[in-house]
């Protein structure tokens, strides 16, 4: 009797297990990344981690980036451009609602663009909006943007995470409770741990396949490795320990995607601080650095050497690595010419990513070989943004600039590396207003060359973007045309 009972129990348990298996595919996902956003407003901070969580998932702009970097229609379903290239008329999708239930109309577009370009705007990429002369509401689904000059980049600019459409009603709390129009809505943020998103049932476009999304923040590479191995997370975007990738590749449970990014990794020099205000010193630093050693040593071979601040996969890229070849002897000679025959001492402040921490040790050793002593300080991101990015209190630092087409930062004299060259600022203004693709390309190449010849920074390598994910997940972005973890098309497959 007992045996029989046990048998029945077993059968029903099996049946239950089977029915769970047959039930629909998983609809929740835990995506890990290294950096936690400082707050949740993509329109008022430079921190890429904000876009990594929210771009396209929660917030959308008039246009949006596709996985290949192309600019596609977003909230605007179509647009017309006037003959002179100065007027853009956007036709918005009908019936788009913010997550709080209010309608997204042309008024919201006007509000967002005016807010971003306003005098008191805290937007980190104000240059994107600089050419806008006026934004006019024609009717609730039509908005007309007039530029002061033709700008070939305008649609591209509007796809940035900094140009997403926000609502005036919810702007006050956007840093802790972001309300957008995307396929997911924000649900919870446990600081230091995770951000939860849930499916937006009223989404205007193709609804997301996932019901619940959790972004987990794991900054420590060892913990990252353990979390993926133990399957505590379903995917890790921007996996920080490249040395572990071969191991994941060999494991059938996982898929490894190594994509390209817009991340120019540079050894930034404080151009207004002695002795880096001397171009000879900057050139000496550039020649002291062996890029391949850094790519091999810090990134285990993942990365492409660059000689200027431009992504190598871009058709307008010029290979200028020859200008700053590894040549310690030349570096020493340059230092002597600059008045530092015995070298000098400076600070090297490193943010948390492994490219910076490991790369920093390698660079310190390479600089020591030519007589430049560096005092290494490891900083957390908040400290780095405070001391280096805003405070400009540093000599050298290593960071990856992950925004697309961001050579324009060299036209901003108050940017953290403080490169102030009127010639470059003029050149960049010319690039922005140039509509002819060929001439534009020519000017871009000039710009690349100018910053390389001025040795503004030491250009190291283009950051590779490794993603480790459960082998059953489909639809993740491989490349990073902008900082984003677009989960709107992600689905579990069996």
């Amino acid at each position: 009797m007992r045996l029989k009972l046990f048998g029945n129990g077993l059968i029903s348990a099996l049946a239950l297990a089977a029915s769970i298996g047959i039930a629909e595919a998983k609809t929740d996902i835990i995506v890990a990344m290294q950096l936690e956003p400082p707050h949740l407003d993509p329109t008022s901070a430079a921190a890429g981690a904000i876009d990594s969580v929210l771009y396209s998932n929660v917030f959308e702009g008039l246009t949006r980036f596709g996985p290949d970097g192309s600019v596609n229609p977003g909230l605007a379903k179509s647009w017309t451009i006037s003959e002179d290239g100065k007027t853009y008329t956007f036709n918005l999708h009908d019936g788009v609602k913010f997550h709080d239930g209010t309608d997204m109309t042309a008024e919201d577009v006007k509000f967002s663009l005016d807010r971003a370009r306003g005098d008191d705007s805290a937007n980190a990429q104000k240059a994107l909006f600089a050419g806008i002369e006026s934004v006019e509401v024609i009717d609730p689904v039509t908005v007309k943007v007039t530029l002061s000059e033709a700008n070939s980049n305008f649609l591209f600019n509007m796809a940035w995470g900094d140009a997403v459409i926000v609502a005036p009603e919810t702007i006050a709390d956007i840093k802790t409770n972001p309300v957008g129009t995307g396929a997911f809505k924000f649900s919870d943020w446990v600081q230091g741990d995770k951000i939860d998103l849930e499916k937006n049932p009223d989404y205007w476009g193709t609804p997301a396949q996932l019901d619940n999304v959790t972004f987990k923040f794991i900054s420590d590479p060892t913990a990252a490795f353990a979390a993926v191995m133990a399957e505590d997370v379903n995917a890790f975007v921007g996996f920080p320990a490249p040395e572990n990738l071969p191991q994941f590749e060999a494991d059938p449970r996982f898929q490894v995607l190594v994509g390209s990014t817009e991340g120019e990794t540079i050894l930034a020099m404080n151009n207004k601080l002695e002795p880096f205000d001397n171009i000879k010193v900057r050139e000496a630093v550039a020649h002291a650095i062996d890029r391949q050693a850094i790519i091999d040593g810090a990134m285990f071979g993942y990365g492409t050497p660059i000689g200027t601040h431009f992504a190598p996969h871009n058709p307008d890229y010029v290979d200028l690595t020859g200008l700053s070849q590894y040549d310690p002897e030349r570096s020493k000679a340059l230092l002597a010419e600059a008045g530092f025959p015995d070298g000098f001492e400076t600070t090297l402040k490193l943010p948390p990513p492994s490219y910076a921490r490991r790369g920093g040790e390698i660079i310190a050793s390479q600089l020591r070989a030519v007589g430049i002593e560096t005092e290494i300080t490891n900083l957390e991101w908040a400290q780095w943004l405070e001391q280096v990015f805003r405070g400009k209190d540093y000599g050298l630092t290593i960071v990856s600039h992950t925004e697309p087409m961001d050579i324009g930062i060299y036209a901003r004299p108050d940017y953290y590396f403080q490169y102030d060259n009127p010639a470059f600022q003029e050149l960049f203004a010319a690039i922005t207003s140039e509509n002819d693709p060929e001439k534009r390309s020519e000017l871009l190449k000039q710009a690349e060359e100018m910053i390389a010849k001025d040795y503004v920074n030491a250009y190291l390598f283009q950051l590779a973007f490794p993603t480790v994910a459960d082998a059953r997940i489909k639809g993740l972005w491989k490349n990073q045309p902008t900082q984003a973890t677009d989960l709107t098309a992600v689905v579990w497959e069996d």
Partner: protein, 276 residues
């Protein structure tokens, strides 16, 4: 001397301690390879004749790193113990000499206060506020050594204060300060040496722990704890990267503890008699 070497834990403890202090001292004048020069082409090589312990992820010789790391660890632990002794012993002597007085109360309650905090947390706090460096690690570890020595000294001194020869010294007109220095201190030295050895090994562990979380000595100074932390993600690729610093910490701490044990047996006459 014979007693020293016949003691079961003394000999291995002494040998291990001598090996690591020896390595640290040698590293002051000579190491097989410069640990501040990276050689990426030679990275993660397995142990070989050129590199007996192999090379790390930056192509540095691990044997040289261990030697320099021994210097870092020993220097930090030694100075930390020194701080503890220099501050703790006088406090303990003073508290014992004025037993029951306000001074005694203040000193001992302050000790209780320091004891009440988890030491590693305070160390993390100190390095977080004043920046991570070997010096701040020394201060953090040193502060927690003070009450250990103060209590030990006071406890031992109190039993001595009731002895006849102390009474004789008082009758002879010596003041408490002089008695403490001339009669009490020499008689608690044995205890202090034993405790010092134990604290020394704890100091090495604490330094390794702080470096492991990135709050100890900063690169390029080699440190066992940081070597362990850096090699963690590579443990499946090149286990020797973690193995050697791990062994170094283990063996040094083991050696010091064995030596401390042995010293206690040798220096405490009561224990010696009861064993033989």
């Amino acid at each position: 001397m014979k007693i020293f070497l016949h003691n079961r834990s003394m000999l291995p403890g002494l040998v291990l301690t001598l090996i690591f202090t020896g390595a640290a001292i040698v590293s002051l004048v000579w190491v097989p390879y410069d640990t501040t020069v990276l050689n990426i082409a030679e990275r993660m090589k397995s142990p070989s004749l050129q590199h007996p312990f192999g090379t790390d992820q930056f192509g540095r010789d691990i044997l040289s790193m261990i030697m320099v790391g021994a210097r870092t660890s020993i220097a930090v632990a030694l100075v930390a113990v020194g701080i503890g002794m220099l501050a703790g012993v006088p406090l303990g002597l003073a508290a014992a000499a004025r037993k029951g007085s306000l001074l005694d109360e203040v000193i001992m309650r302050m000790n209780d206060l320091v004891f009440a905090f988890p030491s590693l947390l305070i160390a993390v706090m100190i390095t977080a506020v004043f920046g991570a460096s070997a010096l701040n690690a020394i201060i953090a570890i040193g502060i927690f050594n003070i009450p250990v020595f103060a209590r030990l000294t006071r406890g031992a001194a109190l039993t001595l204060w009731s002895r006849e020869y102390i009474m004789a010294a008082r009758v002879a007109g010596k003041g408490p300060a002089r008695i403490s220095v001339e009669h009490i201190l020499p008689n608690v030295t044995n205890l202090l040496i034993v405790q010092g050895t134990i604290q020394f090994s704890l100091g090495i562990l604490a330094e390794a722990g702080l470096s492991y979380v990135g709050l100890g000595a900063q690169p390029p100074t080699a440190s066992w704890g940081r070597m362990l932390a850096d090699s963690q993600t590579m443990i499946s690729l090149a286990p020797h990267l973690a193995l050697f610093p791990g062994l170094a910490i283990l063996l040094t701490v083991l050696g010091l503890n064995l030596m401390g044990d042995g010293l206690r047996d040798v220096l405490d006459p009561k224990l010696r008699r009861s064993r033989s």
